[in-house]
Amino acid sequence: MTETDKKIEIMGNEKPRIGIYVCHCGVNIGGVVSVPDLVEYAKTLPDVTVGREYKFFCSDVGQKMIKEDIEAGLINRVVVAACSPRMHEPTFRIACKEAGLNQFLFEMANIREHSTWVHMKDTEGAYEVAKDHIRLAIAKARELAPLAVQKVKVEPTTLIIGAGITGMNSALNLSAAGYKVYLVERSATIGGHMAQLDKTFPTMDCSSCILTPKMSEISRDKNIELLTYSEVEEVTGYVGNFEVTIKKKPHYVDQEKCNGCGICVDSCPISVGNEFELGLATRKAIYVPFPQAVPSEYTIDMDSCVVCGICARESVCEPLAINYDDKPEYITVDIGTIIVATGYDEYDPSGLKQYGYGKYDNVITGLQMERLLSSFGPVIGKPVKPSDLKDPHSIAFLQCVGSRNFREGGNKYCSRVCCMYATKQARQYKEKHPEADIYIFYMDIRAFGKGYEEFYESAARDYGINYVRGRIAEVRENPLNHNIIIRSEDTLLQQPIEVEVELFVLSAAIEPRADSDSITTLLRIQKSADGFFLEAHPKLRPVDTLTEGIFIAGVSQGPKDIPDSVAQAKAAAASAIALMAKGEVEIEPFFAVIHADRCSGCGMCIENCAYGAIEYVDDRRFGTIASVNVALCKGCGACSGNCRSSAIDIIGFSSEQLHSMITKRQ
């Protein structure tokens, strides 16, 4: 028996002496219910030997009060009635541990989130709830048992899903710290949306100039295993020890043989809409997404390919690299940490029929405008009206299309980048066409970033861009010239106005990926109400998820601009490194245990276990019974819930503990 085990055994046999600490949490709790009364009440409960109140128990001083009681031998169980355990359980566990008490002899009563905050106007009700939550926590505390922490190794390898500017930055940081990275990207190139942008606000540096060097850096990096045209198929395991299966989709082109001559593209008879150009140009069924793509690999899009066989001819493909029978390939890798950086989709404004997108030629989205402005875009950086391919003499931008819209089909949130990108696009066009009339219809201009307000001010002052405060009501097309006639209110004039422009740009919202559910299901992470991935804490754990070892970064967590995305990318990399640098991580020893004497060997638990953690063993005394493989068990309790003979228990949420909470009521 080790020293720790001995200690644990002693602690477990002691009669409970419970200390109850009721936190005021400033006025969050104390302002709604009487904390002294709660303490007095708690002290009447059996085995409670100490009861105290304090403004903030999470503070150093507060923790010290608890530690002193432990060290003085007054208590051997700690119950803190305060906020959610999801907030401060780790804090107090560490405090217990530092004072020499087993950290699992601690319990929390959530009287803030679950009482004073949700019953603010019903102080009596809040008090009753708080009382009961304290009583329940004390009941559970009485049944707590000391446990030995489990330590597991952490594989020094990170999986990054998505290779846009966020995923790329995380990858480079991790690699620089010496960790192996699997960078998985589902499209045929890395770079993400940033590769589609022309210039970036507010510095006006060319997007490609700052992005493409990073892209080639990624492709050269020995620590980064770049898997483009690949998707994560399956993730099992837990923090430090994930097992990840990645599907490499077939290119139908043997990359080993291909010499990148491009003759196949010229010879391909099939033209389809080019996704990278957002339908403003076409591509062939065999293609490279765009000239600077990394890796520069040819791919056949089998949804459009008619397998005519032309590209496979030796006269076209001299090295005979075309392989129509190419099959997907699956690889399985051991992963310690995961970073999700899957980015966003642009909102499709065709549902807002009053704006004519999809109906009138000269109505486009912000991202399409970006391609028109791009020097390597379909019109080489000289935006034209789609109706006649001539320079527009007037352009109107409409902000908040699909953002700040509380109607069905709209997004309630602000997309955070549109004010600036519209201003940027307007300035770019004005630079080339100083005579053009540019209008930006807005509700509020949100120029919150570094240098943004200055950028906006200059757009109005130096460039003469007309900012009109009003949300456009409707537009119609002038049938003679395909101009767009806009109806709006100038809310500052309090007048309805009509403006005719030649090009109408909808600053479309940023939306969660349409298929982001596949990620939440794959990784068991959550989404917030806006559909973006949910962070563990909005302020203090912005890149963590509720699942340990999995981090989120960039726009997949919520709309943000490039600087913020990169900041999160680096934060997520740092968080992953923090886990991996230690080489091991402590996990809660909350597993299923089987009481061999009660097990009837029915096998129900084996069927219910999603992890295959239970198997039959032959017991010398009890015959064929179930047995738990602790390495695989996650402690969910699905087995225990179905056990007819109550032979399975879950450490940490034991039947005794739950039972004590239920029955302490008359």
């Binding site: 009447t44 409960l45 059996p46 959610s84 355990p85 999801r86 959530n110 803030r112 989130e113 679950h114 009482s115 905050w117 949700v118 019953h119 603010m120 106007k121 019903d122 009700g125 809040a126 709830v129 009961d132 939550h133 009583r135 329940l136 559910d517 939440t520 299901t521 068991r524 959550q526 989404k527 917030s528 109400a529 949910l534 509720l546 699942t547 219910n608 999603a610 992890y611 996650k634 402690g635 969910c636 309790g637 699905a638 225990s640 819930g641 179905n642 056990c643 109550s646 879950i650 940490g652 949420f653 039947s655 739950l658 039972h659 909470m661 239920i662 029955t663 302490k664 009521r665 008359q666």
Partner: protein, 151 residues
Amino acid sequence: MTEPIVETKQSENKEWEPKIIAFLCNWCSYAGADLAGVSRIQYPPNIRIVRVPCSGRINAYFIIKSLTDGWDGVLISGCHPGDCHYISGNLVARRRFAILKELLEFFGIEPGRVNFMWASAAEGERFAVLVRKATEIVKKLGPNTKFEKKW
């Protein structure tokens, strides 16, 4: 050791308020209840929350025991189907409660005293709505006296 009898009956001139025990899974519904708190969404003070790892942890015994021990209602809430942190614990729970429902009715427990629901970590508002609904139902059913000892 004798437990003190906790006073839960309200004074006579006040409307009777049911007490409902709520088993919330740690990953979705408990977080959803936290979000309701953080968002200051108000709901009636009738539930007492017990955190469990997964709705799959809750077996028939806990539910029946809660009722025989005088809770007026039981509420179990887990992740939405497909969102379970433990892959399928919530589905195991769903199957289990579908069967249990009939058993409870056989026992004479009114349907509605035991509520099974989903609420995700992002659904603070939904959580509050469901609690309001469950409270209303149990309030209508009146105090749970089926298991009171009459001798």
